[in-house]
Subunit: 124 residues, 2 copies
């Protein structure tokens, strides 16, 4: 299992927000807020299969929101606040856009938009 390849920041934002869009995954994150947990223990309170929870954890890990470390036959899951911080900062900047740091904000947006802005609509 190789670590996820570095992705452009807009893809990382995609992954983080998509991961957060599911209530089960948000619940898992809140559980991990208290302590690291094994996969089976994460799954316990949910009314779905272990395999399903395993998939959810994979998605959270892919988004960088958690890390997983296998010790013995138990795989431990740990909250990784950094990815959340990025997205949180993105949102805060949006939610309270003061004139303050608009320069920096625009540089950031430029980067975020870079790939999906054609910026050159085909002439008709």
């Amino acid at each position: 299992m190789q670590p996820p390849l570095p992705r452009p920041p807009q893809d990382r934002l995609d992954a983080v927000f998509a991961a957060l869009a599911d209530p089960t995954r948000r619940a898992i994150l809140s559980m991990l807020l208290e302590d690291d947990m094994a996969v089976t223990d994460v799954a316990a309170p949910f009314a779905m299969s272990l395999a399903a929870i395993s998939k959810h954890l994979g998605i959270l890990a892919q988004a960088g929101l958690i890390s997983q470390e296998k010790r013995g036959r138990v795989k431990w899951c740990k909250l990784e606040p950094d990815a959340l911080r990025e997205a949180s900062v993105w949102m805060q900047a949006f939610g309270q856009f003061e004139p303050v740091n608009l320069d920096a904000f625009e540089r950031f947006l430029e980067r975020d938009l870079a790939t999906d802005f054609p910026a050159d609509p085909p002439p008709d």
Copy 2:
């Protein structure tokens, strides 16, 4: 007319995060940061059909991230930062990171704009 929120806040978070998970929609939000826009003008820079953009705007509106008001035959779209703030508050529960400070934002920018960022947090 039924005012907003027939649905629990859980679903609202679902909608907000899901809406933010798409780069086109984040791009639209950033455009609306500068000024209110008509649907056609929103669609202009994108290499996709007007109908597709219209759908994206519908999703953003459903999530409460924008509002739409029809004046004449033009439908104006306006950023609604409140929904963002709500989700932002949710996220702050997770970082023990301090409440809203743009210092964090600047640090993020520095890291994000660096030419290449570390692939993954090194395992400990």
